[in-house]
Symmetry: C2
Subunit: 260 residues, 2 copies
């Protein structure tokens, strides 16, 4: 049973999330159905992370088992042929060891959250960033983001539907940087809770708007209560950027983000 | 008759070009119709440059005359409200002198051409770059681009439908740079001929593919014959980046292209 890992990019607005749904197009369903056509037997796709409807991926990683050895260049070509116009592209496919697992072997996941902060929204970035009209205090957002770093009980920053046993996670990176009218937050952790990034971003935006002080983060971390934190920020500003494995499995790197 | 200049961004895939057409949506038609609703009299939009179907704009400039003074913030809000989901956004609107003309006052126009050169196309940049599968020789393209600089008879690089009296133009900038898998060519001139950028890019791509030598540019400049140059490169890799005026008229800058 050879195992294959795929590095994939997708436009989240074209799917009802990563995970297979009964009656709505998902990234998992597209991949399982198309790979099944190619290998001629049913396959199960395991992803490094589930993304919600609207969330994009620059470097999602998935794996599946085939019952025979396959030509990875041909499968990549096949998936990109069927994925064209559907919002998915496969950057790389590699044969991996039997003990590799897209979800359990992942050492770190990184996300990018893109805010356009300007008097006008962008025609070319519509659905690919979160538009905020009032001027954000980036310096306050950057200071608040530093308070999220490290190991905390992030219960105040997860969806009430989150099924993880506990909310203790370690945030390794959380930086807020400005690129012209865009504000880009980069976040890295071994794993994230359900909606954690979007709730943290919704909270940082409230601080950027001046509606809450930087110390609000301390309060939420202490109270550990979802009702105390900010709203869940929109999905279309969020990009699942990359997954780290040791050793690295892909020959290609995950996609860059181009701001227009 | 106060005159107003607009800095606009658009997604070229949503329009049949800039110029008003009898029966197809154009940027000019959207602007004229929406501004007419606002000012309550017919207006004529003059653009700094016409863009073909599929060509995007990060900083097109247009002007129109109103028969009364208007609130530019309100008009911007109105246009962005009606333009949302239609592929246009208005970055800035300013009152300008009566002798300002979007087309005739323009000192320089700049364009960007974006090529994705990778084994896989990009789901998120589909329709926003030109995808080339074989590895391009960027160094050869960069050397060839330098031969286009300066004043030449660009007859070999214009559409047979071009209506300009002569083909002598001065290219002030033409640089080819790499950003990961993307190859970005930046071009600047006071004015360009019809399809000039796309034919120059189609020619540079042939050189990058190794199908023609760098000296092919000299031959085309000498022969001045459209049939000797490369194919017209696809429109969706092309962005009308900015227009230079002296003095500068806008308080905002044109949209960015950032690779992250």
């Amino acid at each position: 049973m050879p195992r294959y890992a795929l590095l994939i990019e997708y436009d989240g607005s074209r799917f009802f999330g990563f995970q297979r749904q009964r009656e709505a197009p998902s990234v998992q369903q597209f991949l399982e159905d198309t790979i099944t056509l190619f290998v001629k037997h049913p396959v199960i796709i395991h992803g490094a992370g589930r993304t919600d409807t609207g969330v994009h991926a620059l470097g999602q990683v998935v794996h599946f088992d085939a019952d025979h050895s396959i030509d990875t260049d041909k499968l990549r070509g096949c998936l990109n042929f069927y994925g064209k116009g559907k919002g998915v592209s496969v950057i790389d496919i590699v044969h991996v060891d039997d003990d590799f697992h897209a979800r359990f072997s992942a050492l770190e996941r990184s996300y990018i959250y893109v805010i356009l902060n300007h008097q006008s929204s962008s025609a070319l970035m519509e659905g690919r960033c979160t538009y905020v009209y009032p001027v954000l205090d980036i310096e306050a957002m950057a200071r608040a983001s530093q308070k999220l770093l490290g190991t905390h009980d992030f219960n105040g920053f997860r969806s009430v539907h989150c099924q993880a046993n506990n909310a203790i996670r370690t945030l390794n990176k959380c930086t807020v940087t400005q690129h012209g009218s865009y504000i880009v937050t980069t976040l890295r952790a071994r794993s994230f809770l359900h909606n954690q990034v979007r709730i943290m971003m919704g909270t940082l935006i409230q601080i950027g708007l001046g509606r809450q002080p930087v110390t609000w983060i301390d309060d939420i971390l202490n109270l550990k209560d979802r009702v105390k934190s900010g709203p869940t920020a929109p999905p279309h500003g969020l990009y699942f950027k990359a997954v780290t494995f040791d050793p690295d499995v892909f020959t290609q790197s995950s996609r860059q983000l181009v701001f227009l």
